[in-house]
Symmetry: C2
Amino acid sequence: MSKHRYAVIMAGGGGTRLWPISRKGSPKQLLPLIGQETLFQSTVARLKNLFSPDQILVVTVAEQAREMMEQSPEIPPENYLIEPAPRGTASVVGLAATVLQKRDPDAAMAILPSDHFIRNVDLFHYLLKAAFDVAENGCLVTLGITPTMPSTAYGYIQQGEPLDGEYKYPVYTVKSFKEKPDEQTAQQLLRMGDHSWNSGMFIWRADAILTEIHRQMPDLGKALTGIGDSWNTQKQNDVLNEKWLDLQNVTVDYGVMEKAGKVAVLPAGGLGWSDVGSWYSLFEVLLPDMNGNIATNTGQHLAHETHNTLVYGGGSERLVVTIGVDDMVIVDTNDVLLVCKADQSQKVKEVVEHLKKHRQENYL
Amino acid sequence: MSKHRYAVIMAGGGGTRLWPISRKGSPKQLLPLIGQETLFQSTVARLKNLFSPDQILVVTVAEQAREMMEQSPEIPPENYLIEPAPRGTASVVGLAATVLQKRDPDAAMAILPSDHFIRNVDLFHYLLKAAFDVAENGCLVTLGITPTMPSTAYGYIQQGEPLDGEYKYPVYTVKSFKEKPDEQTAQQLLRMGDHSWNSGMFIWRADAILTEIHRQMPDLGKALTGIGDSWNTQKQNDVLNEKWLDLQNVTVDYGVMEKAGKVAVLPAGGLGWSDVGSWYSLFEVLLPDMNGNIATNTGQHLAHETHNTLVYGGGSERLVVTIGVDDMVIVDTNDVLLVCKADQSQKVKEVVEHLKKHRQENYL
């Protein structure tokens, strides 16, 4: 791939939706949730055939950077950008674009979350190349995911007309971005057929996104200019820290994309994508047996008249026996046992809130 | 109570229905399943107000006797009768009757399982006294349990006419004993209104049951005569071992009661009785909270949108979180986790069979 193309992995998040496996000190992307590799390692591995290691950047927080450097030592240390504090994806994207543009004025970049799963890596590569082709014409490109169900867990992107020009894959202008819908709305959007899930994967030229930031978020733009001017000088970190803490916490979707000029979407079907955003989502990611059961990371699972049930161990080697159990998620860690109806696994968040409120820090 | 009245606790059984808590080495009666006391200790405690310790006998196997003596040291060691090997309840009853008759030719005895639960102890005492009154007239008396549901887990006793004479409690002749029925039959029996569950609790004079044994099971009768003749001599244990191993394994219900002459039943309602014969039965025994949930012997249980669910810990102090879970039994031991639909908890037996077949001895 062109040497002006870069991948930027966004990896700062915490997240409680896979509690009790993911905890404060061990966020989702750093865990071997699926197979032997961590989600972060898989994300890096997915990019290796397309990018040389020095074309891969990681934006993260200081607490996670060291672990990531150990997990993926091939990425050079100077490619880790450290957020002084969480200030939303608009700031992260702006920082990465600023740093890349200093390195390479023709830089184009793919923004990629560190904690997603993609089964069909070849198709992912193909789509990414197609998206870069579109982005190098100045468009802000989003990778949309063709919905397979009326999910209320994602934002939606409505496509408009096909984009002018010839591309390797169908590309459309974007009519609108939509926040996470309620169930009824989600069903309508699915039926309309012109909506994709917002995957949080974006592809654009560094100068194109910076131009939009300056236009729509002038405070962020000004801060980034200051950070860029001091980059690679002795003052680099002082300026970054100082400017960063004054930034507002805004997502790139809300702060930039919704009102940006030239926005395009590639609606990707068949990617086998999951944001691994709940225990339920593991049913899409891992391959169940003929009864729909999945046992992973665990000792022996004796499934007696059991269907569509996930047993997820976390270090324990216990024998797990299920009898007459349907549609259940069982997460078996050393200090917490979670038994949860599969389609209610998003309520894990409520339990974590409860534990926070009651100051049961040892479980967080 | 009359000094000729004795209690005989039958305590030799193994049983797999409360696996994984009950194991080969730790049968149900020796475990503190309900509260602080073991079922055996509760059984003894229930009898203390009625019988002096030397009027309480225990028939058990050698492997369990030592533990029982530690748990209930008030019962004199000579009141423990050791079965050389399991040979069914007919043999056990015969041995106890033989030994008691040697001690006291006027002995009457209540046969009581060691692993049952009775909530209403006062009523139990009242019924036991009433049953002894009947038994001392020569009847073989069974304590029937008035059914509260069409259970297929128990045998049934059909009552006939009220017994001649005046008693403290309604007593009936027995029309028939019935094996564990199928569901449809169980519903019919419940509707008929004249059937009780066979609780395995019997009250009779020692000479009355021995007469029936000699009549119906002459081989057992002969063996018992030999054992009785050598009892309290140096040959006691040799004769017991020799005779015992030739005995057939027969229940007292099948071998004696079904064709016995003078049989009576006291149908007991409101006793709060349970044979603690499955995890499901604990819902009757332990007191659920307003959502029907029970957490016992465990660490913290966080029940989120959870109903009619039992969490039973076995040494583990883990946090157990349930979300959207209904009608479930969760048994959380150090080496086995069982998650089981409540009304299918009798299938635990099938799992134990599976483990036996696959020689996973460490779980048995």
